[in-house]
């Protein structure tokens, strides 16, 4: 599928800085728990003082949909569970729909195009 363009704003600037160098930003609290990049407090213990870190990039497939457009094209949005714990709503690329299954190992890749920030998406692990 094609990934659409996206622009940064204040809330997403750090996320796209990470994405530009091929990293998926997540947040780590002082106790070492990981939260998704949109968290304001630790999702596990409620702590403040979250610091941005790069996720390892491995994930497993939780659920997926196959969206059909009027022009006949399809895309495969999905929920993936990052190895660090948080869920992430993203797009699956390069995967044959026939191989998709709950728990399928995935890895992050970055879709890059003119006029857009780099966008992390996932594909079945090599």
């Amino acid at each position: 599928m094609s990934v659409g363009p996206v622009a940064r704003n204040e809330a997403t600037a750090a996320f796209f800085d990470f994405a530009a160098r091929g990293e998926l930003l997540i947040l780590r609290c002082p106790a070492g728990h990981h939260s998704g990049p949109r968290a304001h407090r630790c999702e596990v213990c409620g702590a403040d003082g979250l610091e941005p870190v790069a996720a390892c990039g491995r994930a497993r497939l939780v659920s997926w949909a196959v969206v059909h457009r009027r022009d006949g094209s399809t895309s495969t949005p999905a929920i993936v569970e990052l190895e660090e714990g948080p869920w992430w709503w993203t797009a699956l690329v390069e995967g044959d729909a026939a191989v998709l299954a709950e728990g399928l190992p995935l890895e992050v890749v970055f879709a890059r195009q003119e006029g857009s920030e780099a966008v992390p998406v996932f594909r079945p692990s090599a």
Binding site: M1, V3, G4, P5, V6, A7, R8, N9, A11, T12, F15, S35, G36, R38, E43, V44, V62, S63, W64, A65, V66, V67, H68, S75, T76, P77, A78, I79, E81, G85, P86, W87, W89, T90, A91, E102, G115, S116, V119, V121
Partner: protein
């Protein structure tokens, strides 16, 4: 003779519906004013009798505190715009019931209105456009929402499809099960003069309808409608002298799960119905097997299946087998008290009748409890369960409604 709060049992005394569906050329605000006026007339009251007003917007917006001025209401004791998406209708009735119960107000109108449909444009297109934040032409979307748009994870169809897929993976729910809900509800809609879609459908018709977001086909998805629906909540004492049989608000509850989106949350598997249902039934002093008709929020076929499980009409994970295996009453069985099957979404629901968010199940429940259901009227009709579901399974309301016999 009970006094004070005990004497002020809340009831729904009026129901007002505008024309629903492809109603063009009217704003949501104008439709809302008409629905409130109709609800007041239905109750045998005058607009000036209202001392409370609660409003709820769909995606088109434009319905708010200004409705007071549009209706010429003076000295209101309660006025607010409420928002918990599909659970708002139930939540408005709950707030109105509490206001009546404690004496804060005597007669509260609750109204929902929406007008996203435009002539010549597809329902899905106008619906998603109504939710999209404004941005300059040609500019890419920004923010976290923009990231979701860029990866195609946008809109209710996709988000509910992800929830439904999870239910199917975990419990073995099938496309035939989804179809069974659509087919059953269309049978009821065929008898509902208010319904937009009244032609019978088969499981095969469901499977042949085009894909929207797998696992959902077109016939898994609710309609989009223009229109407005209002109810008037007042006290049983007052309703005794009004035009219509009172519909008692016996019990109510909400749940907002606050799913933690990390390692194995209940998202897609369990909804807020699992906790708001027992709470509302306990308040009403009603057992689940005393519920004679259930009007469950049906933005998608899947939502009905997960709600049936969560309310306890069947075991967790068996919703698919329940709807496919004869758990649902057919319209021809509507007079059989002991068929053992559930009389569900008797107006056709949002899949087949009209999409007025939580007002769809609520309005049909009021019609049924009053005995005004005509060719689709169930018997007995003394206890109804009504659900509201909002966000992506984020917000849930339950109402237990009863006839005069239950008061």
């Amino acid at each position: 003779m009970p006094r004070g709060i005990a004497a002020r049992k809340p009831v729904i005394a009026g129901l007002g519906l505008t024309e629903l569906g492809k109603v063009y050329g009217r704003s949501a605000a104008s439709l809302a004013a008409e629905a409130v006026t109709r609800a007041v007339e239905d109750a045998g009251m005058a607009l000036a009798d209202l001392d409370g007003l609660l409003t709820s917007n769909g995606v088109s917006g434009g319905v708010g505190l200004g409705l007071q001025g549009d209706l010429g209401l003076r000295e209101l004791k309660l006025l607010s715009e409420m928002q918990s998406f599909g659970s708002t209708a139930g939540a408005m009735v709950q707030v109105a019931s509490m206001a009546v119960n404690c004496g804060m107000a005597d007669a509260v109108a609750c109204v929902f209105a929406d007008a996203p449909l435009r002539p010549g444009r597809g329902a899905g297109e106008v619906y998603s456009a109504g939710r999209r934040p404004d941005r300059p032409a040609g500019a890419p979307p920004s923010g976290w929402g923009g990231l979701l748009v860029s990866t195609g994870v946008a809109g209710a169809n996709t988000m509910y499809a992800l929830a439904a897929r999870r239910h199917m993976l975990r419990y073995g729910t099938t496309e035939d099960d989804l179809a069974a809900v659509a087919v059953a509800q269309r049978e009821w809609a065929a008898r509902n003069p208010l319904a937009q879609m009244r032609d019978p459908i088969t499981v095969e018709d469901h499977h042949n309808s085009r894909w929207i977001a797998e696992p959902f086909r077109k016939l898994d998805c609710c309609l989009v409608s223009n229109g407005a629906v209002a109810v008037v909540v007042t006290s049983a004492e007052r309703a005794a002298h009004l035009a219509k049989p009172p519909v008692h608000v016996l019990g109510w509850a909400q749940r907002h799960p606050g799913y933690q989106m990390r390692r194995d949350p209940e998202f897609g598997l369990v909804s807020g119905a699992a906790r708001s249902g027992p709470d509302a039934l306990a308040m009403a002093g009603v057992a689940l097997d005393e519920v004679q008709v259930a009007e469950l929020y049906d933005c998608y076929t899947y939502t009905v299946i997960v709600s049936l499980e969560d309310y306890g009409f069947c075991a967790k994970g068996e919703g698919g087998a329940f709807v496919s295996g004869g758990g649902l009453a057919r319209p021809d069985e509507r007079g059989e008290a002991r068929s053992g099957r559930l009389k569900l979404n008797t107006g056709g629901g949002q899949l087949s009748s009209y999409y007025m968010w939580g007002m769809t199940p609520l309005s049909e429940a009021v019609i049924q409890v009053r005995g005004e259901g005509g060719d689709r009227q169930v018997h007995p009709h003394d206890v109804a369960l009504v659900s509201g579901n909002g966000g992506i399974l984020d917000h849930h309301s339950t109402l237990v409604l009863g006839s005069e016999a239950t008061a």
